[in-house]
Each structure stands twice: as structure tokens, then as C-alpha cells.
């Protein structure tokens, strides 16, 4: 079931959009922002609201890489694996996180705290290597910064 708040936010998105289907990515983002991921049930409810078939909407949801169709950790770590970050040590930083968190890329830690994802070029190559911690871009990464992140410290603002 969609909550009243979700339904209202989605209707506002629809009002701003060309038509109901055009609002579907925005609507998926609204649901994902609150819930962390998009379940089969969410697809069914949203499809009904938008007037799309479930297959159509799931086809969209599974095409876009940042719509998550599985439960995610409380924090999503997106480590850039683009060409420049790769040249400047991004691979070993990703491996460092895998090792310290005990999870492979794509996976979520057992305690549900972090999901670790590689992501394509984040468009900040002059500060490589970079990553995103939820909505925050963190640049000029070092292993020490990653350890501070794992220890629960805030990452430096830009």
C-alpha cells in the first residue's frame, strides 16, 4: 500500500509532468527515498496509480541502475570505477572497503549498515579518486578517509 504522504508526493510529481507515465521515474525516486528500495508490491501499487502495467513499470525500474529492486543498507556507498579514478588508485580503495566491510561490491554488510556499489564516472575527475556516501560527494579519497567513514565519522564537505 502507498501511504497518504507517498500518494500525495507522487500526485504532485504527476502534476509537474507531461503525463502520468512521464512521472514514473520521479515517482520511483520518491518511494525509494522513503523506503530505501522498490519492492514488487511497490511496483504493483505504483503501476496502478500511474496507469501502467506492472511489466511496463518493472521494465523501467530494472533498466535504471539507481532504482534498487533489492533491500539496501542504511547507507549506500558508490565508489567511482571510471577511467581516471581507476588510474589514480580507485580499484584499491574499492578493495579496501570490501576487505574492511567484509562484503563484495554489490553487497550489503550483514548489519545492514552499508551497501557497496561501483559506479560509473561521477564527473569530478580532477579530484579523483571520488565516491558518494548517500547524497554526498567525497573527493580526493585515501584509505584513511575510508577508515574514518567506517568508524562513523562524517566525511569532509567539499
Amino acid at each position: 500500500m502507498l501511504t497518504e504522504q507517498e500518494r500525495q508526493a507522487i500526485e504532485e510529481e504527476i502534476a509537474r509532468s507531461y503525463d502520468r507515465q512521464a512521472a514514473c521515474i520521479g515517482a520511483l525516486s520518491i518511494l525509494q527515498y522513503g523506503r530505501g528500495w522498490i519492492s514488487d508490491e511497490a511496483i504493483a501499487d505504483l503501476a496502478d496509480l500511474l496507469g501502467m502495467t506492472r511489466d511496463e513499470l518493472d521494465g523501467v525500474a530494472t533498466f535504471y541502475s539507481l532504482v534498487f529492486r533489492r533491500p539496501m543498507g542504511r547507507h549506500v556507498l558508490k565508489v567511482c570505477d571510471g577511467a581516471v579514478c581507476w588510474m589514480l588508485g580507485g580499484q584499491s580503495l574499492l578493495e579496501h572497503l570490501e576487505q574492511k566491510l567484509g562484503v563484495e561490491r554489490g553487497g550489503t554488510t550483514a548489519d545492514g549498515r552499508f551497501t557497496l556499489l561501483p559506479i560509473c564516472c561521477l564527473g569530478d575527475c580532477d579530484h579523483a579518486p571520488v565516491m558518494m556516501v548517500d547524497d554526498q560527494l567525497v573527493r580526493n579519497l585515501t584509505p584513511e578517509m575510508l577508515d574514518r567513514l567506517i568508524a562513523g565519522e562524517e566525511m569532509p564537505a567539499r
Binding site: R16, S17, Y18, D19, Q21, A22, A23, C24, I25, G26, L28, S29, G59, V60, F63, Y64, S65, L66, V67, K78, D81, G82, A83, V84, W86, M87, L88, G89, S92, I119, C120, C121, L122, G123, D124, C125, D126, H127, A128, M132, D135, Q136, L137, R158
Partner: protein, 426 residues
Amino acid sequence: MAPVLTRNIRPGGPPTGLREYEAAGGYVALRQALTRHTPAELVAMVSEADLKGRGGAGFPMGQKWAGLPPFEQSERPRIYIANLDEMEPGTFKDRFLVEGDPHQLLEGLAISAYACQAELGYIFVRDEYVEPARVLSRALAEAEQAGYVGRNILGTDFSFELHIHMSAGRYICGEAMAILNAMEGKRAIPRTKPPYEVQSGAWGKPTVVNNVETLCCVPHIVERGPAWFKALGKAKDAGTKIYGVSGRVKRPGSFELPMGSTLRELVEEHAGGMQEGYRFRAALPGGASTMFLDSSEMEVPLEFESLKEIGCYFGTGTVIVLDDHTCPVGLVHNLQRFYSRESCGWCTPCRDGLPWIEGILAGLEEGRGEPGDLDLLRELCHHIHGNTFCALALGAVVSIESGLVKLRAEYEAHLGQSGCPWKDRH
């Protein structure tokens, strides 16, 4: 060179707000465009200025606008899309422009929409560009309140409703025909053309799609004129460019310079040359989907025309520098992992060809390379050329093809059992 696109940008500083933008002469061009020029005159102006698309393809803006059907005969609303789906590896100039001076984009978009008689517009933003989206959102609210965007702009008959559309991942969304499907809330598969988007685009309406940097040039062309814009270039192309340099250089960053500045100027003067202990091996002049230039090509003007003469693409003009400690095959392999992952899956040469290529490169890196591999790579690239539904796969193969020529020795060093000679060198 007096700054043009960067005149209001403070590197590392906050975005320029509306008052500051106006005080520096902002939105004067919009007023000029709406009150002194007809849309047809603006199309002619931009054509004469020889403004080329800075999203990667370098298509002449004036030619794109001239491809729209006559207004009286076209479906409405016409739609204008600013492409901020910047995801080409090595490219960071649009983020730089938007975070530094968001009103410049809004003004360029409003003028361009008027020229194309578009009533509805979207800024298509990749999901990960959270900060650019925030900056744009605030600027858009300011601009609407001041009457620069929205209904009856500056008291004229021209109305332009502008929205920010956040995407949800996938590189292919930035492709000009795929973006239309993305806007419609569908899988972002590219469309066959013709019809081109200017004839039948989003929701079947005439749609113009332009890169952010391209749009940022428009207010300046209107204010100072096409002749001025053309004279800014040092070689054959017009205007200034936000060049970028990244890799193991001393001062990676964004640099606004005349179009046609050379690789040597960029890498050695502006980016400070290579870091201690590293030497220049080659560079991709415009992000991942361009061809390698080597040290014999440092004096080539980096622009569309001059690079075309030597069989190269200019792409986005953000230079990826390859140093001598980095395995060239490893770099190309990284790029192919990206392209094959980002393939939308629609057409066979891309969907099946790119992973095949990626597998061969993995084999070279891991000591499973065989002499026939290099010929096979070339053959696969040849089969992909011209046989795909869009240019993503073309972008993928050009670094392989050029690398096989210019980085041949390093490729051959991977043949045989030992694999990558760089593996212990990082």
C-alpha cells in the same frame, strides 16, 4: 584571454546568485533577444557564430535549430532539453559550469527556447549530480520569481515553462534519442532516425536537445555577436572551451581557453605538466569516446576541425592523460568494462560485441593473450562500426582502434603467458 563562460565562476567558491549575475550583466542578452530579435534572427545569429555542440558530437547548433519544422505547421508544445546527464568518463565540465554559474545555463536555455519557439523545457540531470541539482533548483526559483523564466518572460508574449528532471542512472540516457524515451518514462533505448528529434521528439513534439556548455555560450553570442564569438577561437572552430585535464598531472582541473588550444598548452602550461616521477604516454582529448593522441601530436589544436583532419574526435574536450606507470591495455579494459556495462542491450553488435572485446582485453591482462587476439580486436571493432543503433559502441571502439596503432608495443607486450607487464608497477 578575458573569461567568457567562467567570468562569474569562483573555483571552489559558492555558485553565483541572481543579484550578482545581474550586476555582472546577466540576463541583458535575454532581454535583447526577446525585445530586439525574432526567433529566425537568432537562429541565423547562432548559425553564423558556428557554435558546435559541446556534448561530444560537435553538431552545429544553427543547423540543428534550422532543422525544426515551421512553427505554424508543428505540433505543440515544442520542447527544449538541456542535457546534464554528464557521464562520459573523464568529463566534469558541465558540473563545473552549473555549480559555478547556474544562471548562465538558465539564460542560455531561455534564449534558445525563444529562438526555437519552445514553450516547455527540462534540464535533464543525472541522479548522482545532487549538488548541481540543488544549485539549479535554487537558481530556477530565483529566475522564475524575477520573471526570466515562466509565463510572459520580461513582459513579452514568450512563455517558457522549465522543469528539472532527475534521471535514475545509465549512461545511455544522455544519448540524444534515448533521452526522449527517458523523458517519456520508458526504458532509455535510443530511437531510430529519421525522424530526428527536431521533427518528432519527446511525446512526438519537435524537441531540441543540447549540452549544458553549448547552451551557456548562447547569451554571449547574443550580447557580443557572432563575429566576436568566432574570433575567440585560435584555429578553425569558434568560441572558448571549458577544457579539462585529469590523470597524473600536477594541476588537474577545468580551464577556459580559446577553442583550438593545443594539448601541450593544456597539459604542460595549465595543468603544470606530469607529476614527479611520471611521464606522458598518451591522452584521450575529449573523454573516453575519443582516439588516443601521443606525444608526436602535442601541437595539434584541440577542436573539432583540426582533430577531424587527423582522424580524431574532439568529444567533450576534457583530456584524460595516460602516464607511463599506467598500463594502457588496463586503461582500455576499464573503458570497455564501462561501455559493455552501459550498453542498453538493444542491438547485437553492441550488446554482444562489447563484452566479447572486454573478455579479450581481460585475457591479455591475465596472461591468456594469444597473437591472434589483436587482429580479432580490430575485426570486432570493424564489425561494430556503422552497424549499431547509436554511437555508444562507436565511442567504445575508437579507443581500442587508436590504441592498437599508437600503443601497439604495450599491447604486444601482453601476449604470452605473463600477461600485464605493469601489474606490479602501480
